[in-house]
């Protein structure tokens, strides 16, 4: 894994590039649009800083490039790598979906009812726990981009990755926000 500082630098570079590209096309944007553009560029920068080593990154880019409005933006942001990146991401997503579907089919066809030898009370407790865990994994799958097409094991790995990158993102954005605040303060006072 990269060191955090290396990741920060990469992310920042990509993000600044993206921001510059965002701001030039439209001079006047509403605040919400700006916010969206900033967030999108940050996300895409984060994902591409990971250099396609993470599943969630690919999923994020693929999702972002699906929608029409942001598509051009994402293409610009990714630059020359966009073709490669997008193709790679969509390809991988397709593969994952196929795998998932076939997994489900196989599971259904080979599903077996296991004989539970536990007492009813024990069964209840364990099944409750299992249900809880299942619900939570469902929620987690919805949170992590591209999480639906992952089994439990890789979901955890992706979550790890995702948390680290989110932290980096938050740090850098906070720095930037503080810096700009300071500049504005200076501007006001000076």
């Amino acid at each position: 894994m990269h060191s955090p500082s290396q990741l920060k630098r990469d992310f920042l570079k990509q993000w600044l590039k993206g921001l510059q590209m965002c701001s030039y096309p439209k001079k006047e944007m509403s605040i919400l649009e700006r916010k969206k553009a900033i967030k999108l560029s940050a996300d895409v920068a984060m994902a591409s800083a990971r250099n396609a080593t993470s599943c969630w990154g690919l999923a994020l880019i693929a999702n972002a490039s699906k929608e029409g409005n942001d598509k051009c933006l994402v293409e610009h942001l990714l630059g020359q790598e966009s073709e490669r990146g997008k193709m790679a991401s969509t390809f991988q997503l397709a593969i994952l979906h196929k795998k998932l579907r076939s997994k489900k089919i196989i599971k259904k066809s080979c599903s077996v009812r296991r004989v539970k030898k536990l007492t009813p009370r024990m069964v209840l407790a364990s099944s409750v726990a299992k249900r809880l865990v299942k619900n939570r994994t469902k929620v987690l799958k919805s949170l992590v981009p591209g999480g639906e097409s992952m089994d439990e094991f890789s979901l955890i790995k992706e979550t790890l990755d995702y948390i680290v990158s989110l932290r980096v993102q938050v740090d850098v954005m906070r720095c930037l926000a503080n810096a700009s605040d300071l500049l504005n303060c200076k501007g006001v006072h000076g």
Partner: protein
């Protein structure tokens, strides 16, 4: 075609049969014989089965185990038994990853060599689980007595390794099913421990559900922070222009221990905006370090032109400059 039907029936039944097949190989053989009893020519049905995993069938034919079974009548049941597992393998081939494969349980009766040819099958890409059980079966020749459970070190590296050495602990069920599940659970638990260390406040919590809860909260809070910060950035600056050329130039230049250096502030900054004493913001600059000065204009001191923030840990520092028009 009855051959085709037989093959289908076998593949359909293998799922159910796998669980019901309890004690040993011979019992398995009995049940298979009942399965096979419908088509009288089991040999030809076997060849029908051969169409699918041809290579494995060849290996089976050459496997040493077959030499051990003396009676010729024994052969047809044996083959379908092996074929069951092969079918399961075929059934699993489209998938990848860690789905517990249902197989015949092993036990001391089953010939350990039964696993060997199948272990070598080309579908081993997905079948690290299968191969896990093969290996286990080989090890469990003694029987479900006291054993120690160890997972090989390479198991934690990835999911694509052929052999995972797992043995059953004392008093635990030793059928391949639960062993595979246990191996899987151990992998998942190891990862969960990593997650627990990463997310603050998770160390003291026990129980998967609670830990997952914390993780979910953490991820949600991070995402909310990102949203909030992006909103804040959008509100603050009417337009964000960054002098990227100099940034990148500085980047390519001298990078001193993970700093990337300052950027030229052009003279388009409004005059007097930044004639601020250094003393006003001493606490802000954790360490006003910069790699390189690139001809800063005189009215802006270098320290002010660079904003340094030591974000979280003391490890990297990032320097950047925002030009606001």
């Amino acid at each position: 075609m009855e051959l085709g039907k037989c093959a289908e029936a076998r593949s359909a039944d293998c799922g159910e049969k796998a669980e019901e097949i309890g004690a040993g190989h011979f019992q398995l053989g009995e049940e298979i014989r009942t399965l096979v009893s419908a088509p009288p020519d089991s040999g030809s049905s076997f060849t029908a089965l051969l169409e699918l995993p041809a290579t494995q069938a060849v290996k089976l034919l050459h496997s040493p185990e077959l030499e051990e079974t003396p009676p010729a009548a024994e052969l047809p049941p044996v083959f379908p038994a092996c074929k069951l597992s092969v079918f399961l393998g075929a059934g699993n081939s489209p998938e990848t990853g860690s789905i517990p494969v249902k197989q015949e349980p092993t036990d001391s009766d089953s010939p350990p060599d039964n696993s060997l040819p199948l272990a070598a099958d080309p579908m081993a890409v997905n079948g690290d689980r299968k191969l896990t059980k093969r290996k286990e079966r080989e090890k469990k020749v003694k029987g479900p007595a006291k054993k120690s459970k160890t997972a090989s070190a390479c198991e934690t590296d990835g999911e694509k390794l052929p052999y995972v050495h797992v043995r059953a602990r004392r008093g635990q069920a030793t059928d391949s099913h639960s062993l595979a599940e246990r191996a899987r659970r151990e992998k998942i638990n190891a990862r969960m421990k990593l997650l627990q260390e990463l997310v603050p406040g998770c160390n003291k919590i026990s129980g998967t559900a609670m830990v997952l809860d914390e993780i979910i909260n953490h991820v949600q809070s991070l995402q909310r922070q990102v949203e909030f910060l992006s909103m804040r950035l959008a509100a603050v600056n009417p337009r964000i222009d960054i002098n990227l050329d100099s940034l990148l130039a500085a980047e390519n230049g001298s990078l001193l221990d993970s700093n990337f250096s300052g950027i030229i502030m052009p003279s388009m900054w409004p005059e007097g905006q930044f004639n601020i004493n250094r003393q006003q913001y001493p606490q802000v600059w954790h360490q006003p370090v910069w790699g390189r000065e690139e001809g800063n204009p005189n009215f802006i001191t270098p320290e002010n032109s660079l904003l340094s923030y030591d974000s979280s840990a003391n490890s990297g520092k990032s320097y950047f400059l925002i030009l606001v028009n």
